[in-house]
């Protein structure tokens, strides 16, 4: 350990004056394999907590783009056709089925089944059935793993969203992106390892959906913004030119270095490294969001310039189409630059009423850019190592929502017992439908998958054993999958 400090100190002292000290330092730390268990215990170990760490076993995926459709899209209208439900339209469910079930808004006594207005078509060689609003996703059906037997424990939004992001409906826990960057570090030298992109209205969970919980804040998601500077405080203040910013950082570096020589505290070296990374991020983040070198073909493929044909989006406004497509394209650019986990959050899927118009608007928004993202990644040879996930926090009821004070039934309530998500790339076996719900889409009848199982499998794809990726906090070894989780072998390519 002594040797380590000494070595770093030497590196630091010989190169820091040029302003490159920290870069060299971080590099040296990585080269030293500072992330084996002994080195982790070093007090200088947190100089670069995002340095790459070895997984438990050979990984398939290197990056993840997690498209979180918060609010919960209707599985029976998008992914899981139920002709029988249409036949039973208007009928009540047998009491035995709803007896011990709680709903958010729906009145059990008078609720009746509501068929879907959507039509479904088989796509691809695999013949995956998707609804008429998802033709672009249909065109990549052979790359998709459609999971129809998902289920969760929560039926209110914020708890449900926490369960999806953190493995358990509780506060103070790290999100998936935090666990991944904590376990694996990030390949990006100039950008955060865990990035969050939002479009439209805010989600129920707000900032709790990308917090690092009991893990250090360096593992929190960094929010990229839709307007102004891409990262908060990225821009050098008005009136301070970049040259003076550089000169200022050199001066600061020298002053901090002098203090380091006095106090020998590695935290000072770490601070210098942070300032240098900040400076690099000032250049890297604007370059990242600058789409001017994307071809018109790419821009068109993602549908960046499309406008919605109908109203909807639950107050998010017509700019959502552009913002969402933009986020999909940015996600690809981030993955190219080594960002570990990109979380696109879109919170406009809570369709208690106006289900049909809202689905037209939202599916119309998402279908093309998500499909384009998958194709684009594939064409660039990135899909194999990039896991793309589409998921909401739960599904929606086969029963129409007959809430008090509304005389028309035009939507569906929250439904935790069965829903669908899909995955692509990153070591997933595409072109398959996994699991099955019953005739009305109520609950899985074959191959049920709990959110913790999904999370266990996600970690597995990254070469991590969900039982071994733990962090001790308050005497307990916490993990992403709480007290559950089974890796689903059938998903793996």
């Amino acid at each position: 350990m002594h040797k380590l400090i000494e070595q770093n100190r030497r590196e630091f002292l010989t190169t820091a004056a040029s302003g490159l000290g920290a870069v060299a330092l971080a590099g040296a730390m990585e080269a030293d394999g500072l992330l084996t268990s002994t080195a982790a215990a070093s007090p200088v170990g947190d100089i670069n907590p995002l340095a790459i760490k070895p997984p438990h076993f050979a990984p398939k995926a290197k990056s993840c783009i997690f498209i979180f459709m918060a609010g919960a899209p209707s599985h029976i209208d998008l992914f899981d056709p139920k002709p029988k439900l249409n036949e039973l339209h208007g009928q009540k469910l047998p009491e035995s089925m709803v007896k011990n079930v709680r709903f958010a808004f729906l009145k059990k006594d008078t609720a009746t089944l509501m068929g879907s207005k959507r039509t479904f078509t088989p796509y691809g060689e695999c013949g995956m059935e998707l609804c008429d609003l998802l033709p672009h996703l249909g065109s990549v059906a052979d790359d998709l793993l459609l999971v129809r037997g998902m289920h969760t424990d929560q039926f209110n939004h914020h708890p449900g969203q926490l369960l999806m992001q953190c493995g358990r409906a509780a506060f103070g826990l790290p999100c998936m992106g935090s666990w991944l960057t904590y376990g694996l570090g990030s390949e990006s030298k100039n950008l955060p390892g865990y990035v969050v992109l939002t479009a439209g209205r805010g989600s129920s969970g707000g900032a709790t959906l990308w917090q690092s919980g009991f893990l250090p804040s360096v593992y929190s998601g960094v929010l990229f913004r839709n307007q102004g500077e891409p990262v908060l405080n990225l821009k050098t203040p008005e009136g301070i030119p970049q040259a003076l910013q550089r000169k200022g950082l050199d001066v600061l570096g020298r002053a901090n270095q002098a203090r380091f020589e006095e106090m020998h505290d590695p935290e000072i070296a770490s601070r210098i490294a942070s300032y240098e990374l900040a400076f690099r991020m000032q250049a890297a983040a604007p370059e990242l969001i600058d789409l001017s070198n994307e071809t018109q073909a790419t821009v068109d493929a993602y549908g960046l310039e499309r406008k919605p044909e109908s109203k909807g989006g639950r107050g998010g406004g017509p700019d959502q189409y552009r913002a969402f497509a933009n986020n999909c394209l940015l996600a690809r650019r981030m993955v190219e630059r080594g960002v570990r986990f990109v979380n696109i959050i879109h919170a406009s899927w809570d369709h208690h009423s106006n289900l049909d118009t809202e689905l037209e608007f939202n599916a119309g928004m998402a279908d093309q850019p998500v499909a384009a993202l998958i194709k684009d990644l594939k064409q660039r040879g990135l899909l194999d190592e990039t896991l793309v996930v589409w998921a909401g926090e739960f599904g929606r009821t086969p029963l129409g929502e007959n809430r008090d004070g509304r005389d028309m039934v035009t939507g569906r309530d929250h439904h935790p017992f069965g829903f669908s998500i899909f995955l692509a790339g990153g070591g997933i076996k595409g072109g398959q439908v996994y699991g099955e719900t019953d005739e009305i889409g109520w609950a899985p009848v074959k191959d049920p998958v709990h959110i913790n199982d999904f999370q266990a499998t996600l970690l597995h794809l990254f070469g991590m054993d969900h039982l071994r990726l733990t962090h001790r906090f308050q005497g307990r070894d916490f993990r992403l999958t709480d007290v559950g989780g089974n890796v689903i072998d059938a998903w793996l390519a």
Binding site: H158, R201, N233, N256, S270, A278, F473
Partner: protein, 1027 residues
């Protein structure tokens, strides 16, 4: 759908990069390892690897390792070890086996025991497998043992010792042959004390005075001065607020603001400043409402446990979240006072610590009858000043208005005879309806309006959700008494109308009429409609609802659709249509869901009963001749006449409001906890923590492993008993835990490093005797926080230099021995406070409602559906200390989170101090810090200084609280000169860089160069670090 759920508490222990926490475990072990073969070396292995199946919850094969008698008795298949003969012992065979019968079993994710663990067990058996009496049961764990006052040990280097703390520290150091670090220099000491006790930098004058003060008690006087500062209360209150998970909003999806939350924060600040003893501090917060004759302030203290989250998301089960809040109260109490992860026992008995599932729910039972309520507390601070101002203003206004009201009353009363005469004179004209000349009709919702030949309108085309029809008309009638709206059936309408919903209904929300001389309508042309009648009105939708001023209610005909209806609306008296022949009728239909009119006709009305709308009792009086009426009857008449006057009504209303305001009590409502007296809840064990699965009933009680609970009465055990139990001298844990918390604020870490875990899985104290001695001192010093702090900061241990000693990097890299002070970055709120203080911007106001310093607008928009607006504070409130920043749980101020402030969703007894590029970006570029650097440059430029060097050195002194050497100033001089060169050629940028902070007579170019330089000074590691 049954899933195999494997408790995480039992699994995975690969310690990935846990860094500090883990290393310290190793370090601690190294510093005080028991001899090889000692039981205390094997016990942790049993806990970690064997308890899951052979422990308190399960005893597979009849074997358990958590109790000595059972362990020695062996399992179903007999003895598992042979004392002195490891090689012949069954346990050694099993833990070294490669076969299916290996222990722990081959599918255990943690894998087999390590070679070191196996060797430890072998050594213990070979040494005779001694299992001391009372050991091995969880209750023998150090933290649960009674506190016996330890004697401070003798040391060789007596001269180093300032107080007994130093003996405990030095004696360990001497055993290791390590010398303590030298005392920090005086400038460092005053900076350290100011950061620790106030969270603010010392001023240059304060530093100079202390450095030059040669009196023997200079240090003690400094400490006293700091402890007496009201800023001390803020500093230590904020530490406590972390534990209270204090926030200004509800949490969860809706995350509504809690505008009264700050009252609890103020309570904590005053309690700390008043040095409320920690036992009292505990009792009032947990059970202030149950104290005899509880004061409003004692009730306010219970808001500690009212900081739990509230879920108002649509469709939630309130009982579920009430129970969740109680879980949080139990967990928080456990962490803050017991240092135990009590929450683990919510679903099952605690795997490692002696808290049974049942005991958890006994703790739960204490809180189960504490309801979330509100109470009145006296106003203080700004709100009180505002209240006084409002009261005076109201009184002044009242003095002005009251005579006006009386005057108007008198005027009206005088009019009564004339009015009565007019009524009498008015011949009762018969009611008649007349067509009016329709000039124009518009639909705000874009519906199509057709005129039919019978003078009615038919609405077609798009059916908007809501609509407003504006009809302009003219009449030749000399006077009009009202209007008639005929709603008519039509075959083109759903259900034949007359409305446009599928079943033919409509809701006429509001009818407004204007009459004017020209075709131009102003608000004052409004004709007030007073009475309404209709041939039919749906239940809950009578015609009066169309003139009640409420857009959401209205007239509808559900139940009788498909046929014609009409309603008549009358003005008071007559509309003088001779003078004002132009009419505008506005028909609002805002009910929604397309409840709009389908076909209708408008007619003007003349005549009708002049007494229309006059209630029967008034009519009765009118029927009596004026000279025959008694006083009461006369009063009825006057009252009625007065009651019709809008001007009077407005005046009277205003006067009433002013009177209310003038006589209001100076109190505000705050959220607190109070004991439920009616319908008291029984408490049950909840199966797996599910609120829908109550099992066996339980009574309030405390864990058996700690001192017994002594309730005030055997009939009822409540929170006050729990609070008393926590601070009972016989209860060893809370004092150890509280002392450790205070120590950590003064050393950057606790004597028990795992601040939140004093249990079996936590780390043992590095200085167990010191911990217990301090716990005794706390009690001996009347539980005084200030006295305990005075004691600790008075030690030589505290006063050591914090320079890292590389020669000890291998022996004790984490400074477990306290051979030096620690260096650590100060907290997020304080980062901002420091910057504002050195720039001269920081407000010195203490307490009061939360404030809204600058924040990018889109941060607030991230919360649910963008329902939160961040209205930036003005004036002084922009520059309040960081602890007063409004804390919105789902969208906290990013500057706070970036610097590791807790998210307030769960209790936090230990903050991290991470070091990230986002922090650098914040310090360099964030609006708050940019403004601070501008103000700091302004302040520097106003210094009376001879030259740049002097000025730079002084500014640097503000930040680092010591006089910098020439070599330290030089780089900044370089930056200043380079900045000058730049701005000399970029005057416009200079103006921008300076902002609003250019001192008089200084060119912008010069001021800008100073801004660019000060900015970097504010980023010095030394400034942000408590050394």
């Amino acid at each position: 759908m049954q899933r195999e759920r494997r408790p995480a508490c039992q699994t995975g222990c690969i310690r990935l990069l846990v860094g500090i926490l883990l290393l310290s475990a190793a370090g601690a072990a190294r510093a005080q390892d028991p001899p090889e073969g000692d039981f205390s070396r094997v016990q942790p292995i049993f806990v970690e690897r064997c308890y899951e199946c052979h422990g308190p919850d399960q005893q597979e094969s009849g074997l358990r390792f958590d109790r000595r008698d059972k362990a020695l008795a062996g399992g179903d298949s007999g003895a598992w070890f042979v004392p002195g003969k490891a090689a012949e012992s069954e346990i050694v065979r099993r833990i070294t086996s490669d076969d299916y019968d290996r222990m722990p079993p081959p599918d255990d994710p943690k894998g087999p025991l390590s070679a070191e663990q196996i060797a430890t067990i072998e050594a213990w058996i070979d040494a005779g497998a001694k299992w001391p009496e009372g050991k091995g049961t969880l209750s023998s764990h150090w933290a649960f043992q009674p506190i016996e006052r330890p004697e401070p040990p003798a040391v060789k280097n007596e001269s180093w010792v300032r107080n007994p703390i130093d003996r405990f520290v030095l004696s360990k150091l001497e055993k290791q042959g390590i010398a303590p670090s030298p005392e920090a220099d005086r400038a460092t000491l005053i900076k350290r004390l100011s950061y620790d006790l106030l969270g603010l930098p010392p001023s240059v004058e304060e530093v100079d005075a202390f450095v030059d003060d040669n009196s023997p008690d200079a240090y003690e006087r400094l400490v006293d001065r700091l402890l007496d500062s009201p800023r001390f209360g803020e500093r230590f209150a904020r530490h406590w607020l972390d534990k209270a998970r204090y926030a200004d909003s509800d949490g969860y999806e809706k995350d509504r603001p809690r505008p009264d939350a700050w009252r609890y924060r103020d309570w904590v600040i005053s309690a700390v400043n008043a040095d409320m003893p920690l036992d009292q501090f505990t009792i009032e917060q947990l059970a202030g409402d149950l104290l005899p004759d509880a004061t409003p302030m004692q009730q306010l203290a219970t808001a500690f446990h009212r900081q739990t989250l509230t879920n108002t998301e649509g469709g939630t089960d309130q009982e579920e979240f009430r129970v969740a809040a109680i879980f949080d109260r139990v967990a928080t109490t456990g962490t803050v006072w017991l240092g135990l992860t009590v929450g683990c026992a919510q679903c099952h008995s605690h795997k490692y610590d002696p808290i049974a599932h049942r005991e958890y729910y006994q703790l739960f039972a204490f809180y189960n009858n504490g309801d979330e309520t509100t109470t009145d507390v006296p106003l203080v601070g700004d709100p009180l000043i505002k209240w006084q101002r409002d009261k005076r203003a109201a009184e002044r206004k009242l003095a002005d208005l009251a005579p006006k009201l009386e005057k108007r009353r008198a005027e009206l009363a005088a009019e009564v005879p004339a009015w009565e005469a007019e009524l009498k004179a008015a011949e009762s004209e018969p009611l008649a309806e007349h067509p009016i000349e329709l000039v124009d009709a518009k639909s705000s919702g874009g519906a199509e309006i057709k005129r039919l030949s019978d003078g009615s309108y038919l609405i077609a085309g798009k059916n908007p959700d809501k609509d407003k029809l504006t009809i302009t008309a003219r009449t030749d009638l000399p006077k009009v008494s009202g209007f008639r709206i005929e709603t008519l059936a039509h075959d083109s309408l759903g259900g034949k109308g007359p409305g446009r919903t599928g079943h033919g209904n409509f809701v006429l929300g509001e009818l407004r009429v204007f009459a004017a001389a020209e075709q131009k309508f102003k608000p004052e042309d409004r004709v007030v409609l007073k009475t309404a009648e209709a041939d039919y009105g749906q239940d809950g939708f009578p015609p009066e609802k169309a003139i009640d001023g409420d857009e959401k209610t209205g007239w509808a005909v559900g139940g009788q659709t498909g046929r014609d209806h009409h309603a008549q609306f009358f003005a008071t008296g007559h509309i003088d249509t001779k003078k004002a022949p132009w009419l505008q009728l506005v028909l609002s239909q805002n009910y929604g869901g397309g409840h709009t009119l389908g076909r209708f006709r408008i007619m003007a009305l003349t005549g009708g009963d002049p007494l229309r709308g006059i209630p029967q009792n008034v009519r009765d009086v009118l029927a009596v001749a004026a000279d025959k009426r008694d006083a009461r009857q006369q009063q009825t008449l006057v009252d009625y006449y007065l009651g019709r006057d809008e001007q009077l009504a407005k005046l009277a209303d205003e006067v009433k409001q002013l009177k209310d305001r003038a006589s209001a009590e100076p109190v505000m409502q705050v959220r607190v906890i109070s004991q439920r007296e009616k319908d008291r809840r029984t408490s049950h064990i909840l199966d797996r923590g599910d609120f829908l699965s109550p099992a066996e009933e339980v009574q309030p009680g405390t864990p058996a492993v700690l001192s017994p609970l002594e309730p005030r009465s055997t009939e009822r055990t409540d929170r006050l008993d729990l609070a008393h139990w926590l601070v009972d001298p016989a209860n060893p844990l809370p004092r150890r835990v509280l002392v450790n918390q205070i120590w950590s604020h003064l050393f950057g870490r606790g004597i028990v490093r795992t601040m939140n875990d004093f249990g079996v899985r936590g780390e043992p104290p590095t200085h167990p005797q010191l911990l217990d001695w301090l716990a005794c001192e706390l009690a001996a010093r009347s539980w005084s926080r200030k006295q305990l702090i005075r004691l600790i900061v008075g030690s030589a241990t505290y006063r050591q230099s914090s320079a890292v000693r590389e020669e000890l990097a291998e022996v004790d890299p984490l400074n477990n021995l306290f051979y030096r002070q620690n260096r650590f970055r100060i907290e997020g709120e304080i980062v901002r406070d420091l910057a504002l203080e050195v720039s001269g911007l920081l407000s010195d106001k203490i307490g009061g409602p939360s404030v809204f310093p600058p924040m990018p607008a889109d941060v607030a928009a991230l919360s649910y559906a963008g329902n939160f607006k961040w209205k930036e504070s003005e004036g002084e409130d922009r520059y309040r200390r960081g602890m007063y920043t409004f804390f919105k749980r789902t969208a906290p101020h990013p500057n706070l989170l970036t610097f590791d402030c807790p998210d307030a969703n769960t209790t936090c007894v230990e903050r991290r101090a991470s070091n990230t590029p986002l922090q650098a970006l914040t310090m360099l570029n964030n609006e708050t810090f940019v403004e601070a650097s501008q103000a700091m440059a302004h302040r520097a430029l106003e210094l009376p200084a001879a030259d740049d060097h002097q000025r730079l050195a002084r500014a640097m002194q503000w930040c680092i609280a010591r006089t910098p050497g020439a070599k330290e100033v030089a780089p900044f001089a370089e930056l200043l000169s380079e900045s000058r060169q730049y701005y000399a050629q970029h005057a416009d940028e200079a103006k921008t860089a300076v902002g609003a902070y250019r001192p008089d007579g200084v060119p912008a170019e010069e001021a800008a160069a100073w801004v660019a330089t000060m900015r970097m000074m504010m980023n010095l590691d030394e400034f942000l670090t408590r050394e």
